[in-house]
């Protein structure tokens, strides 16, 4: 009854292949997008925007990028943190050297630079597969962090070795830097996520996405039917790094404000990989669900005892939080090894049949 699809006929290929073929879905998603653009900037306080929603959006973008590479093209990567760092340091260098370039342009160019670096580190993927590739990308993670730590040019010779986001405006409104407001930074992050999630969704539905999946499922078979593994894999690395690069730039410019290389260490790579695995490999929605799970659940667990007025010592609280969080991860992986996105898919199937399952 929730989905009344009676009368929804597809008369063209275009309508049959739409991202949301069901009218109800389309309406809900459009309303939701409208809501996320309007409600949080007006209603949420700075804590929610700055400490919860902005990191969620940025991690979603990074997870989407990694999902293209790992979930769709099947190339396991542990270099996400490194590629994010490339984006962040490129954005910093670009915007300090050429302040006249619009910050949106800076983010896009940083993404391209990250894509270039990703291509470079993607080359071994032609020969190395599976876990061995993970180790190779791990090398990129360590190399890139070492590089940014080692060469002072990347931080404009600052003695502290940190990069700081300067004030930059879009259409006359400050969106980055210490003087920008949280709602504007949120909108900036949301804008990027919305556009690039749409692009990613369309990528994976089209020829490129299909060739990725062909490579993922059986690379020799894919090669026989005419998918060029070199081009396909490198494209996956490039596009994935592009996403991670933009996420990295946003990480510093919209979220942290200033950062050192430690902000992009191996933990970030693992975190994003876990988001992809928990959310669902090979699902754009999964990237968002995974990011939400990893970012929001710990914050919820930290705040929950406060909300119910349980005065526990903070250290104990932290340990409980870690235990509950770990248990939840195991629980979800047992209940649904294909991730939260699959859970949602099952729910939706049931909703479509309800109340007359047959």
């Amino acid at each position: 009854m929730i989905y009344r699809e009676a009368g929804q006929f597809k008369t063209t290929y275009a309508s049959d292949q739409a991202i949301f073929p069901i009218v109800q879905d389309r309406v809900v998603v459009l309303l939701a997008i409208l809501a996320v653009f309007l409600v949080p900037p007006l209603a949420a306080n700075e804590y929610w925007l700055q400490a919860v929603l902005i990191p969620f959006l940025i991690y979603s973008l990074a997870a989407t990028g990694l999902n293209l590479l790992t979930g769709y093209a099947g190339q396991l990567s542990l270099g996400t943190g490194g590629f994010m760092a490339v984006g962040a340091y490129s954005a910093f260098k670009l915007t300090t050297a050429f302040p006249q370039i619009n910050i949106i342009g800076v983010f896009l160019i940083s993404g391209l630079i990250a894509a270039g670096v990703g291509l470079l580190f993607g080359i071994p993927s032609l020969r190395i597969k599976g876990f061995y590739l993970a180790v190779a990308t791990l090398a990129s993670q360590f190399f890139l962090i070492w590089l940014f730590n080692k060469v002072p040019w990347f931080v404009n010779y600052a003695s502290s070795g940190t990069i700081t986001a300067p004030d930059r405006a879009v259409f006359g409104v400050l969106v980055t830097g210490p003087n920008s407001t949280a709602p504007m930074r949120y909108l900036m992050a949301l804008g990027f996520v919305a556009v690039f999630a749409l692009i990613a969704k369309n990528l994976v539905r089209g020829r490129i996405g299909r060739s990725w999946m062909a490579i993922r499922d059986r690379d020799i078979a894919a090669e026989i039917i005419g998918v060029n593994p070199l081009r396909t894999k490198l494209l996956a690395f490039g596009i994935s790094s592009f996403y991670c690069g933009i996420a990295g730039a946003e990480f510093v410019f919209l979220y942290l404000g200033s950062a050192e290389t430690l902000a992009f260490d191996i933990n970030v790579s693992f975190l994003v990989l876990f988001m992809v695995i928990i959310g669902g490999l090979g699902s754009i929605l999964g990237s968002f669900l995974g990011a939400a799970f990893i970012v929001l659940v710990p914050i919820f667990l930290t705040n929950a005892p406060h909300l119910i007025g349980l005065p526990l010592p903070v250290a104990l609280l932290k340990q409980i939080e870690l235990m509950v969080f770990g248990a939840l991860i195991i629980f979800f992986l047992i209940v649904e090894p294909h991730g939260l996105a699959r859970l949602w898919q099952i729910t939706k199937e049931k909703l479509r049949l309800w109340p007359f399952p047959h």
Partner: protein
């Protein structure tokens, strides 16, 4: 029947209201709210726990004994951040609402929060850590790093080495190695050491150790080859323990290995056992439980079961440091109250208090910390104050001061600091204040 419904409603109301009660108390009008970013868990917990306990003990002492600062209660709340920058920022955003001063407890988080401080009107006190350039108060009005910066500390170390060698001219040709944590924190001392190496003619070698510092074999192999006269160690957490162990393993003379003040606590040396004996470190306060303030916390807190930790841990390096940090916050707020009245203050008023803090010898005696640290005075230009450093040594059981109070080489540090301040301020788009008009 109706009465039952009424009861249920009352009960439900009580349950809903119960969690609100402590919050309402915390927002009581007559109080000052100070959030504490602590790290009682995670890899740095051995340093974080005594530090946080020091804060708790001192604030509780003020509340129990004096009923707060001049009668205005201190309300403080801990937030666990595991020494992780992102969690620290989350904590800050969550608790900043009513805050007037925040102690970030980590150089990484300090860098994050410096741009936010003037916007949120919250005083940032990074006591002996954080951004050195922020000591120029003309540019960084909201950031304070007294009693001393990393740069002054490094210069005090060189001065100490000079004194040990029998004169600053004897430093010529001496080999000094700086083993540092490869992060903004670890790198802080480098520019000062480089300047002094040029001026005084000693040979400086900089050896970076990557986070977290568990692997230092190659570093100490290099040290063995260089065979330096002195080693300055800027480590943190496990890196210190490993460094001290490695130094002992290669048979380096331990009293020529000097840590900075984040590399000289009990947890850094205990792991190395007897090998650590003789290891020295910089400090800006004495360790040990032998001061009047310790008797006070035992009397008012520990004897009543209100102490934050085990009694034996009183006076550990980081416990004392936490208490001193809390004391400096308290005294700055007291200074502000002298001007604005004994009432809850705003961030701006507390900032004035920090900027005009004059901690005299008499005041230290009243507080019960005479001899524990040196008097200091903060001014508008100078946010690192005129604090002094000292050197302490580990004898296998406890840390004891082994030097007089050392005045850093301000004539060397300050000009470079002012140049760096302009650089850092330019990044944030700050303008310089005129301190004569403050």
């Amino acid at each position: 029947m109706k009465r039952n419904v009424l009861w249920i409603f009352l009960l439900a109301g009580a349950i809903i209201a119960a969690p609100l009660a402590p919050v309402a108390l915390a927002q009581d009008k007559g109080s000052i709210y100070i959030p504490l970013l602590v790290y009682r868990t995670g890899p740095y917990a051995p340093s974080g726990i005594p530090n946080a306990n020091g804060f708790n003990d001192y604030f509780n002492l003020i509340n129990e004994r004096d009923g707060g600062i001049n009668g205005v209660k201190i309300v403080f709340e801990e937030c666990e951040m595991q020494y992780d920058t992102k969690q620290g920022v989350e904590c800050y955003e969550r608790l900043k609402g009513k805050a007037v001063v925040v102690n970030p407890f980590s150089t990484g988080i300090t860098y994050q929060l410096i741009p936010k401080a003037p916007v949120d009107k919250i005083v940032m006190h990074s006591m002996g850590y954080g951004m050195t350039a922020a000591a120029d108060g003309r540019w960084f009005a909201w950031v304070f790093n007294f009693p001393m910066t990393y740069w002054s500390q490094a210069s005090a170390f060189i001065k100490y080495v000079g004194a040990q060698e029998g004169g600053m001219d004897k430093l010529k040709g001496k080999k000094i190695v700086h083993v540092y944590h490869n992060s903004p924190y670890g790198r802080e001392a480098n520019p000062t050491l480089e300047v002094l190496a040029r001026q005084l003619g000693f040979e400086l070698t900089l050896l970076a150790v990557d986070h977290p510092g568990q692997e230092q074999k190659s570093t100490w192999l290099q040290i063995r080859r260089i065979n330096p006269d002195w080693i300055y160690l800027s480590g943190w957490g496990v890196m210190n323990q490993v460094a001290v162990k490695e130094a002992a393993a290669i048979g380096y003379k331990m009293d020529h290995l000097v840590g900075n003040w984040w590399s000289g606590s009990e947890s850094d040396v205990v792991a190395a056992g007897d090998g650590a004996k003789g290891f020295r470190s910089m400090t800006f306060h004495a360790a040990g439980p032998g001061f009047k303030v310790h008797q006070e916390i035992v009397k008012y807190l520990y004897d009543k079961g209100k102490g934050a930790q085990k009694k034996e841990a009183i006076g550990e390096v980081y416990h004392n440091r936490g208490m001193i940090n809390a004391m400096l916050n308290t005294e700055a707020i007291r200074t502000a109250m002298a001007k604005y009245g004994n009432k809850p203050l705003t961030g701006e008023q507390v900032r004035w208090g920090f900027e005009n803090l004059n901690l005299t010898e008499q005041r230290l005696e009243q507080i019960g910390m005479k001899g524990m640290m040196q008097p200091l005075r903060v001014t508008c230009e100078n946010h690192e104050s005129n604090g002094k450093a000292a050197v302490q040594q580990w004898d296998g059981k406890k840390w004891t001061l082994v030097s007089d109070w050392i005045e850093p080489m301000r004539e060397v540090v300050r000009p470079n600091l002012e140049v760096a301040a302009v650089e850092e301020a330019k990044k944030l788009g700050y303008t310089m204040r005129d301190c004569s008009k403050e």
